[in-house]
């Protein structure tokens, strides 16, 4: 599956390891929340980065204490209509200060890239090659944003107030 990171197609360094499957000796792995929480220390001790796939109906409280040692958190879109992971993403970035990779996994459409980047995602497991190819141009589709989020983009309201301020300062 194509992985888009930093705006372009990249090789996914993480290996999805199914529950019960043996862990590779080294290298980056993505494991389920259940497997991770069963023995976080053992996983974090091994050589190689660890990422967790966090379901969208599970409270983040159990994840938060481990955030600074995780290399990736993958949030799940069971269908592209299910928007719970957008809230989880914003909470991880904006409330809990998570600054590692935040990956969108599951069903994702290119038409959702803007929302996802605004919510804090920076890695995307995209189903369709064409969608992955279109990433760079799709995320540039909008230049005006009404809401403040953790992505730091200036809102329309703030731009207006800055403009007004600079106009009155210039007089």
């Amino acid at each position: 599956m194509p992985l888009v990171k930093q705006g372009r197609l990249t090789t996914d360094l993480f290996v999805h390891v199914a529950d019960g499957a043996e862990l590779p000796g080294d290298g980056a792995v993505l494991v389920t929340a259940e497997r991770f929480l069963a023995d976080p220390e053992a996983l974090l001790r091994r050589a190689g980065k660890v990422g967790v796939i966090w379901p969208n109906n599970r409270n983040l409280d159990d994840l938060v204490p481990h955030l600074d040692r995780l290399a990736s958190v993958a949030l799940v879109f069971p269908t592209f209509r299910d928007g719970r992971a957008y809230s989880q993403a914003r909470l991880l970035r904006e409330r809990y200060g998570y600054d590692g990779e935040l990956r969108a996994t599951g069903q994702i459409l290119r038409d959702q890239f803007v929302f996802m980047t605004r919510a804090g995602f920076d890695a995307f497991e995209v189903k369709k090659d064409a969608d992955a190819d279109a990433f760079a141009q799709t995320v540039k589709r909008y230049s005006v944003f009404y809401q403040p989020t953790g992505d730091g983009r200036v809102t329309a309201l703030n731009r207006r107030m800055q403009l007004r301020h600079s106009e009155s300062a210039g007089q």
């Binding site: 592209f80 209509r81 299910d82 928007g83 719970r84 957008y86 809230s87 914003r90 904006e94 409330r95 459409l109 038409d111 803007v114 929302f115 996802m116 605004r118 919510a119 064409a130 589709r141 909008y142 230049s143 005006v144 944003f145 009404y146 809401q147 403040p148 989020t149 809102t155 329309a156 309201l157 731009r159 207006r160 107030m161 007004r164």
Partner: protein, 551 residues
């Protein structure tokens, strides 16, 4: 009027170009219908019985004459020459072609109109009192807040894929014309003991399969905090709202299942945990939005101009004036409601010619401004009283002076089985027949205020639960039947109606309604006692007895 600036214009143009690309991908097969459906819905495009239907937002019900002319243009150029005003300050076109939709949207964007989020599981058009800014006794113009919330909820990166649709309505007047108690969030502007302006926040109202009247979640949230508080409600809903069953996915079910106290506690915790995330509206921010609203330069005019005195002998004028003209906050001016409920006509429809003509009248008599109300009528919000006689003549010629506002023939109806793919039964022909039965305006006057609401299925787009008389179309063995409720209301005393008896077939609905009205006339204790008050005083039983005794 709110004036779009370069940023608002840029955003809706970007939206149009995005949708143009999506339509192109759909028509080429790059997008499946399953994928495209949510994208088109987020741009107000449904698929109905005959064609695609296109729903355009009229935020808080305010239109300029230029915008109304452009809606007429869309009706003429891309549709069949008419449009349908809905119960949520939108207009719908029934016969639009998908391939032409991007052009229609581009034409609308030129005058600052969009169709974003008029459908789909996101935050819908923010509605308000159609008399906002002109009603006497208002706390302040609720459209300032409607616009602040409209912007905040437009293309929201976190809440565009909610469990289900989400509707917000705002009122600032004592009498609620925005039906806030049947919204997911209802906001009532008021001042607290310290004189600070803020909102009573209601949550969990809604009709449909499981109707609920909204409950107060917080008696006062200051204006500066309102966005943060709404954000907290939405976050709780986005995370915990049910997604396993479409009929249980609205916030009303979550509120009901958790109980309002528990829900309020969840929201409060989230609100506290949120801290300062840039949503607090300081004075400058509010004033920035306020400054973009312009108001007419009213003249100093007499309370009772000569023109009005002279016209008083014209019975038709007087009847219309008493029915359709309401008090304005500025002396010498009036608010004029334009009935879109002519006898025998489909409720809420207007032809392109009517729209153009109303735009012209708005330029001539109402500072170029038109309003759209949830009762599916239009209004001219700033008419000088001296102009009322001339305006009446012009409206009468257009078929827009039916003196039936708030009367028995001012029927709210969804499109029903004539258009809608969800409907079980027809709505419009029932409404048409009822307007013929009560075509005599003297009789309608005698009956007094009476709201009839008709929905063609349980989704309740015609708000039948809160009609003084509610009519719900159902299907029984392939035939159209109608359940009738009485005693509902949508205002500040909102209440759900009570079923009066077994469902009746299509052909008998008008007879039953006539009998209900007759029973009321016989049972009311004085002419001023309104239908809903009689039902409240006596209960359903005495009316049921009279109506069903011979059935």
């Amino acid at each position: 009027m709110y004036a779009y600036d370069e940023l608002d214009r840029t955003l809706i143009n970007e939206r149009v170009s995005e949708f143009r690309d999506q339509v192109k991908r759909r028509l080429s097969g790059e997008l499946t219908e399953d994928e495209f459906k949510i994208l088109r819905l987020q741009n107000g495009v449904y698929l109905q019985l005959h064609a695609y239907m296109f729903r355009v937002a009229i935020p808080y019900g305010t239109l300029s004459s230029k915008q109304l002319r452009r809606l007429a243009h869309v009706a003429r150029r891309y549709d069949r020459g008419y449009g349908h005003f809905t119960t949520r300050q939108n207009i719908q076109f029934n016969w639009i072609k998908l391939a032409e939709l991007p052009d229609a949207l581009a034409d609308l964007a030129e005058v600052g109109i969009h169709a974003m989020q008029t459908s789909g599981n996101n935050m819908r058009n923010v509605t308000s009192d159609q008399w906002a800014g002109v009603a006497p006794g208002e706390i302040e113009d609720p459209r300032i807040w409607s616009e602040i919330i409209r912007q905040h909820t437009t293309l929201h990166p976190e809440f565009s894929f909610l469990p289900r649709k989400f509707k917000i309505a705002i009122t600032a007047a004592e009498h609620d014309r925005a039906a806030i108690k049947i919204h997911d969030i209802g906001l009532r502007l008021h001042k607290n003991a310290d004189g600070e302006t803020g909102f009573e926040v209601l949550v969990g109202g809604g009709l449909g399969r499981t109707p609920f009247i909204a409950k107060t979640i917080k008696p006062f949230v200051s204006g500066r905090d309102i966005l943060g508080y709404i954000e907290a409600i939405l976050r709780v809903y986005n995370q915990y709202g049910r997604r396993d069953n479409i009929y249980k996915a609205r916030i009303k079910i979550l509120v009901h299942e958790l109980g309002i106290e528990k829900f309020a506690k969840e929201v409060d915790e989230e609100w506290k945990a949120m801290g300062d995330v840039g949503l607090t509206l300081d004075h400058t921010a509010i004033e920035e939005v306020r400054s973009r609203f312009s108001y007419p330069a009213y003249e100093k005019l007499p309370h009772m101009p000569d023109e009005l005195k002279q016209a008083a002998h014209d019975k038709l004028f007087e009847r219309w004036r008493k029915n359709s003209v309401s008090a304005h906050k500025v002396q010498g001016y009036s608010i004029v409601t334009l009935s879109l409920k002519p006898v025998g006509g489909p409720p809420g429809d207007a032809t392109a010619e009517q729209m153009d003509a109303v735009a012209d009248l708005a330029d001539k008599y109402s500072f170029g401004e038109i309003r759209v109300g949830h009762e599916q009528n239009l209004a001219l919000p700033h008419v000088a009283k001296r102009d009322l006689p001339a305006l009446f003549k012009a409206l009468d010629r257009l078929g827009l002076a039916t003196p039936n506002v708030n009367l028995v023939t001012d029927i709210i109806a969804c499109p029903g089985l004539d258009y809608c793919s969800l409907a079980n039964a027809r709505s419009i022909p029932i409404a048409q027949e009822l307007t013929r039965r009560f075509a005599n305006h003297d009789t309608a006057d005698l009956i007094g205020r009476l709201h009839i609401n008709i929905s063609g299925c349980i989704n309740a787009c015609g708000h039948h639960h809160v009609g003084h008389i509610g009519i719900l179309g159902v299907e029984k063995n392939g035939e159209e039947f109608y359940q009738i409720t009485i005693g509902g209301r949508a205002d500040e005393n909102a209440q759900l109606g009570t079923l009066i008896g077994p469902a009746v077939p299509y052909a008998e609905v008008a007879d039953v309604i006539e009998d209900i009205v007759e029973a009321y006339l016989a049972l009311r204790d004085r002419p001023e006692e309104l239908f809903v008050d009689t039902v409240k005083r006596l209960g359903v039983e005495p009316i049921r007895e009279r109506v069903y005794a011979t059935r």
